[in-house]
Amino acid sequence: MMHTLTLHLGILRAALRHIFASPLAGALNIAVIGIALSLPAGMYTLLQNVQSTVDKISGTPQISLFMEMNVRTGDVDVLRKQLDQNLAIAGIEFVPRDRALEQLKHSTGLADVIAGLEKNPLPDAFIVHPKSGEARELEALRAELAKLPGVEQAQLDSAWAYKLEALLKFGRVAVLILAGLLSIALVAITFNTIRLQIITQREEIEVAKLIGATDSFIRRPFLYFGATQGLLGGIAAYLIVTAGLLLLNSPLAALAQLYASDFTLRPLSPGDSTTLLLFSMYLGWMGAWLSVARHLSRIEPR
């Protein structure tokens, strides 16, 4: 067991030596793989960030019913009863105009502006929690509620979130396509690197075959090389994405402050990072395997 491990470690060391035997070529290969992978990985990270922000803000969809400014308490009670009887509604919440103003003061940092107002510009409002989350039903309910007496305006709060969700779906598909194409490119890069290696080590392969090396013995260093190069490329991609996010974060923080938010881009999660590394390692391995399968059988000693 220990003995087998030592043998494999020896092959791995040789693979690393091969990569760094020509440091520039090795580094360029790793950089190409890293850049190729960082594009989809970076886009994915941005999408994840937008997604989690959307999730946080939108939560479950709700409809805001703004009352007319001159509405009386009795009218509010009538409306409340009507809403309670509506089967499409799961629950309601009444927000009196005074409380709405208080909330606005606390949540947005516009306290100075609000303090300067002569009178409360906000109407009484109901927040309606619909039973359904489906976009079309929500829109139908909103239209129905807008016609109720005393209602000035009915607003579907998360309409924008649905539109964004659709946009994100589009983005995810685009990332998948990009990732697929660049994966093929990565396999091709490794395929070619290994092909060149096989050509330069032709003599060694011939001699090894002549003195009894099995195909798997000859194949192994190339596979290890491909996997190692893929892994290093994955690490490069991770570093590129992380550095990119760090660079984006400081101008973004300035921007977010203008909107009184503390939004920052979060880096790749540990799970996603591991997936990235394993995936790039696998692609390297596959490129090497394809190349070896194609080129090694052609080398027969004479």
Partner: protein, 225 residues
């Protein structure tokens, strides 16, 4: 140990390298294979190592028909053979020591045991003090000895040598043959191709003579055993 039965070998293009060759080499026997250049000596050795396949007839090595051996089984046949190549086939990107180490690495030998064996093999051919050199720094004769060390480090039962004394002066050639003979003395089966008359004058060694691909019944200048 090695047995040819009516072996024919024709290369693509129609050149007939071996015609109806039959012979037997017993276990532990040492045999010279001789003939003019192009007589088929190299082809015969390649058939033993399954580097080439016969067109007809059978080549038995250790009672195994190597002519029909599957590709996957080849490595295990070759691990039982020590081959000394005419062109040495040394690897110039590594040291003398690592060249001899290669067959043991291929067989997956334990590292410490391997180091001992490599040193023993280098000692046997007189290259122990050159283990850190690169083959490029060795003379032709030293390269030949290095090739021998690599062939024997695995302690194979059969040694094949293709013109081991080619391009060497008579004195050096005698040394090489003496080294090879020492393996014969410890029980290895040897098949050595040569057209060196000095080597062939060595008495008491059976000689197989090839002429235009055919085995000659009565070789000259040697005593059959």
């Amino acid at each position: 140990m090695i047995s040819f039965n009516q072996v024919n070998k024709r290369y693509p293009g129609g050149y007939q390298a071996l015609k109806n060759v039959s012979f037997n080499i017993a276990e532990g026997e040492m045999v010279f294979l001789t003939g003019h250049s192009g007589a088929g000596k190299s082809t015969l050795l390649k058939l033993v190592a399954a580097i080439e396949r016969p067109n007809s007839g059978s080549v038995l090595v250790n009672n195994q028909n190597v002519g029909v051996l599957k590709g996957r089984a080849l490595p295990y046949l070759r691990r039982n053979l020590g081959i000394i190549f005419q062109d040495h086939k040394l690897l110039f990107d590594r040291s003398v020591f690592d060249n001899v180490m290669l067959p043991l690495q291929i067989c997956g030998f334990d590292h410490r045991e391997s180091v001992k064996r490599v040193r023993a093999a280098l000692d046997k051919v007189g290259l122990l003090d050159r283990e850190k050199s690169h083959p490029i720094a060795l003379s032709g004769g030293e390269q030949q000895r290095l090739c021998i060390a690599r062939a024997i480090v695995n302690r194979p039962a059969i040694l094949l040598a293709d013109e081991p004394t080619g391009n060497l002066d008579a004195d050096y050639a005698r040394k090489i043959i003496a080294i090879l003979k020492s393996f014969h003395q410890v029980g290895a089966t040897l098949l050595i191709s040569t057209h060196d008359s000095n080597v062939l004058s060595d008495t008491g060694v059976r000689v197989l003579a090839l002429q235009h691909g055919e085995l000659q019944p009565a070789p000259t200048g040697a005593v059959p055993t």
